[in-house]
Amino acid sequence: MPDTLLFAMEAALNGLTAGIMYALVALGFVLIFKASGIFNFSQGVMALFAALTLVGFQQGQVPFAHLINAIFGTRVHHFGWNLPTLLAIPATVGVMVVFAWAVERFVLRHLVNQKPIILFMATIGLAYFLEGLGDLMWGAEVKRLDVGIPQGMSGAVDDLTFGLFGYGFYMDTLDLYAMVIAALLVAVLVLFSQYTKEGRALRAVADDHQAALSVGISLRFIWVLTWSIAGIVALVAGIMWGAKSGVQFSLSLIALKALPVLILGGFTSIPGAIVGGLIIGVGEKLFDFFMQPIVGGATENWFAYMLALVFLLFRPQGLFGEKIIERV
């Protein structure tokens, strides 16, 4: 087999895993959009905030330490103990649930029946607030996130592909775990929405707010539930991305990677987020692979948005999104 083909296959395989990572971020957007019609601009910052909180708990950091020290002249930074990951993750989930409640209580409740653009603007404000809150609570320095998922070249993939092609493909073990975790996450979400009372209520609200309200479903509860689930998805995305390059402000920018995925897959489809992520991941890796010798690389951001633009021209609702027709 020619070397170029092997290398392209390796790039495509890594594109698939990168696509899963993008899809993890896109999932959070889809969940909230489906349930409430809100494009949640703060989803990326929620991933950052969740990862910061997890590391903070793991390392026994005192929240708001800088603020406390500045006001009281103290020098407290750590509690002096570290929280095991298995406890830190549920604690972080708890924080994200509290955050979801606060969003409903202090933001969404006051914006019921407002136009989607108003709600969108509110999430922009929320993103800025959360950015500042994250820095204030846990500090702005780059933090190492270790939840015990191994990183580095997968020996199994290397051996397998070497046996097949005489060339060992590189694949990061972390990405393999991300694929399994994403599959589990989607399975749990599907089971939850199909087989639980709350899940069915969530789907009812997603289908028709008014009809759901008329049968006694609490919109406020559903919003808290949706934002909680989106918070948990953000935590998963934050863990996987944070493990790759540390937990720092840039983590919030992964939302930019999710936008073209959403345009491709559709804003209302969970399978769409996965398929969109895979298309973007494989597409950008292969495009960069073939174009690198011509244009010098660094085409990935550009390619993802160009592909999304082409999709917008021919299929504005995305691959799996609902076609919205407004009669005027």
Binding site: A11, A70, G73, H77, G246, Q248, L253, G296
Partner: protein, 431 residues
């Protein structure tokens, strides 16, 4: 008590910033970024810069008896905001600008030149500003990007018995004006020394670099040189560890060599190397003074948790060079309260000796160098530091390494002359 001191200091700083100048002072503005994606890098630099100036005020009562007035403007490492900051401080008698961003520096060069305010872009900015006859108001001592690229190649020459013939070197660069700066130097040196240069760009911010590292794995280069910033650095170091690239053959510029860059990769970063334009750590006498006059009274900048880190040291070094230039200006002009033009003269005649560095409590911290009208770039020397993941420290593994200054001056002259032609500047020294 400490709380009250800090509160009083805070009120004093606020009043100093808010109120018009009523007393004699020396205004040192700071264009910082404590927010945004590059905040982890911007905060320690800002803290170091501010702490040194606080030390001079608290210990010496200012420079030549004239107190320093600090002001801080947040740029978030955003060029437009940097220009807005400049507009807000240009009328407030700033003595010297530290843009802390190559993009902002490029924007401010024509503006500050017109307004007569000197710029110090230490280890960043426009490399050809080394030619002081064209860039009268811009200084980039003690080293610039082209120096850095040349120092790395000279170090590699030493490691390879004086020959890089047939070696393969990858430049992994941030796809921005900053990241592309070393390309002319490395290209020219590749022609002279016979190594193959492969340029691989990384889109900002640089969180996803899988394709780049797959290419590096395929190319099997002898060395990878990194010109990165922000999240690009830890991601690259992690990816290098993942593909088992030998860390001792992976060398970053001085903006890719801080604790923030190696921390996320943990043990995997062990042995990673980078340029160092100054020493690091707290093993310098000046830290006794910082502890006594800045930390103990509760006057430290930020959270006070960055002291001694690489980028804190860089901010401290930049402030030290600014203060020394101000002293030089006071001596030249025989006045204590200097203006921006006199400050420029101080910068253009700055002499840093080993003895002076020792007097300042920073022995062997930075190179000895002299600034002149023709050379605004200092000596260009740098050292190589190596990360020890076990102890969590950077260790210097070389002495000062000289760049190929003849070649750099030749290239800088060519570049600066075309700038002069484009901007209708008649090269020459200022009277």
């Amino acid at each position: 008590m400490k709380k009250m001191t800090k509160l009083a200091a805070g009120i004093a700083v606020t009043m100093a910033i808010a109120a018009p100048t009523v007393a004699q002072d020396l205004h040192f503005p700071m264009l910082n970024y404590r927010t945004g994606p590059f905040a982890p890098n911007g905060i320690p630099f800002a803290d170091g810069y501010q702490d040194y100036l606080t030390l001079i005020n608290e210990r010496d009562g200012g420079i030549g008896g004239v107190p320093i007035r600090m002001s801080e403007c947040e740029t978030a490492y955003n060029t437009e905001r940097g220009v807005e900051c400049y507009q807000s401080i240009r009328g407030d008698d700033p003595l010297v600008l530290q843009p802390l961003s190559t993009g902002i520096t490029y924007q401010l060069i024509p503006r500050a030149t017109e307004d007569g305010i000197p710029i110090h872009s230490m280890g960043y900015g426009r490399t050809s500003a080394i030619n002081g006859e064209v860039f009268n108001w811009v200084f980039n001592y003690p080293a610039n990007y082209w120096d850095g690229a040349s120092v790395i190649i000279n170090f590699l020459l030493d490691e390879n018995d004086g020959s890089l013939e047939d070696k393969k070197i990858v430049l992994l660069y941030h796809n921005s004006a900053y990241g592309r700066e070393p390309i002319p130097t490395l290209t020219r040196l590749s022609e002279d020394l016979g190594y193959e240069l492969i340029e691989i760009g990384v889109d900002s911010p640089g969180q996803e670099q899988r394709n780049q590292w797959l290419q590096i794995r395929r190319e099997r280069p002898d060395y990878v040189i990194m010109w990165g910033w922000g999240v690009m650095n830890p991601t690259a170091i992690q990816e290098a560890a993942n593909i088992r690239f030998p860390m001792e053959n992976f060398i970053g510029v001085w903006w890719s060599g801080s604790e923030q860059d190696v921390g996320p990769a943990g043990e995997g970063a062990h042995g990673y190397r980078s340029l160092a334009m100054h020493g690091t750590g707290r093993d310098y006498p000046i830290y006794d003074d910082i502890e006594e006059y800045v930390v103990e009274p509760g006057l430290e900048a930020g959270a006070g948790d960055q002291i001694g880190t690489v980028l804190y040291s860089r901010g401290l070094y930049a402030a030290m060079l600014a203060v020394e230039a101000a002293r030089t200006a006071q001596e030249i002009h025989g006045v204590d309260e200097i203006n921006a033009e006199q400050m420029r003269d101080g910068m253009a005649n700055l002499v840093i000796t080993e003895e002076r560095m020792a007097e300042l409590g920073l022995p062997e911290f930075g190179p000895a160098f002299e600034v002149s009208c023709e050379n605004h770039g200092g000596s260009g020397e740098a050292m190589i530091q190596e990360w020890d993941a076990n102890s969590g420290t950077w260790n210097l593994i070389t002495d000062w390494i000289e760049p190929d200054r003849d070649m750099i001056m030749e290239m800088a002259t060519e570049d600066s002359m075309s700038y002069a032609e484009e901007n209708d500047i008649t090269p020459g020294c200022m009277e």
